[in-house]
Assembly symmetry: C2
Homo-oligomer: 142 residues x 2
Amino acid sequence: MTVGALLALSAQAQVQTFSKPEDAIRYRQSAYFIMGQQMGRINSELKSPSPNIAAIQRAAGIVESVFRLPGEGYVPGSDKGNTKPNAEAFTDPRVGEIARRTAGELAKLSEVAKGGDVAAVRTQFAAAADACKSCHDDFRNK
Amino acid sequence: MTVGALLALSAQAQVQTFSKPEDAIRYRQSAYFIMGQQMGRINSELKSPSPNIAAIQRAAGIVESVFRLPGEGYVPGSDKGNTKPNAEAFTDPRVGEIARRTAGELAKLSEVAKGGDVAAVRTQFAAAADACKSCHDDFRNK
């Protein structure tokens, strides 16, 4: 590998992310808050006598897409302060596995919602919420 | 219009959004925080001697897509409390015009970034930031 290629690789790795750990924490929390609100909205619709499928589709699309964001917020130094993930959340390889599974369940939720079958949405919503919860259970301080 | 159609329309209009005004405020702030971080990242890259175009493309895509979110947070009652928009932000039709213009500038920023021409990205970034600022100037309390 040439020095130029090494430097290019190094520049690639050094993409500036957050100027301070507090920003990374707030970034993660912002994304999770948006997702929480939209998951709550889907839940409310599913409990209503006549669920608004368009609202569910929209919310599911937002959750699927916003779930891609918080991962980059788990930067060194952002494990301290006003934040809930425990120490293991920053080191345990299971977090990545759960994240991939959750992304899959959320993509499927969005897909199933497009189909318009409320019973199917209800089943997939439970699967998606369960994937979210599996991370909360093991990697979030109470 | 039949009563059934009226009820359907009314159910449509009554999509549950936020359970309390504070949630709507935090929802807006979450979306703007994510956008601010990503705009800051683009700005940093554009100031660096060798801008990382992949990082710019990614950030521009996030800003374009997250910009669609905060609009629904401007619900009645969410003009008070820990929030910066002024009273006019909730009533002035110019807000909608600026939002549409900003959405267009952000879409264009994402598009130009894909082209990979840093000088063109710099020009379009200034246009997009200017669109953001035009709303901040007139509709945000200092």
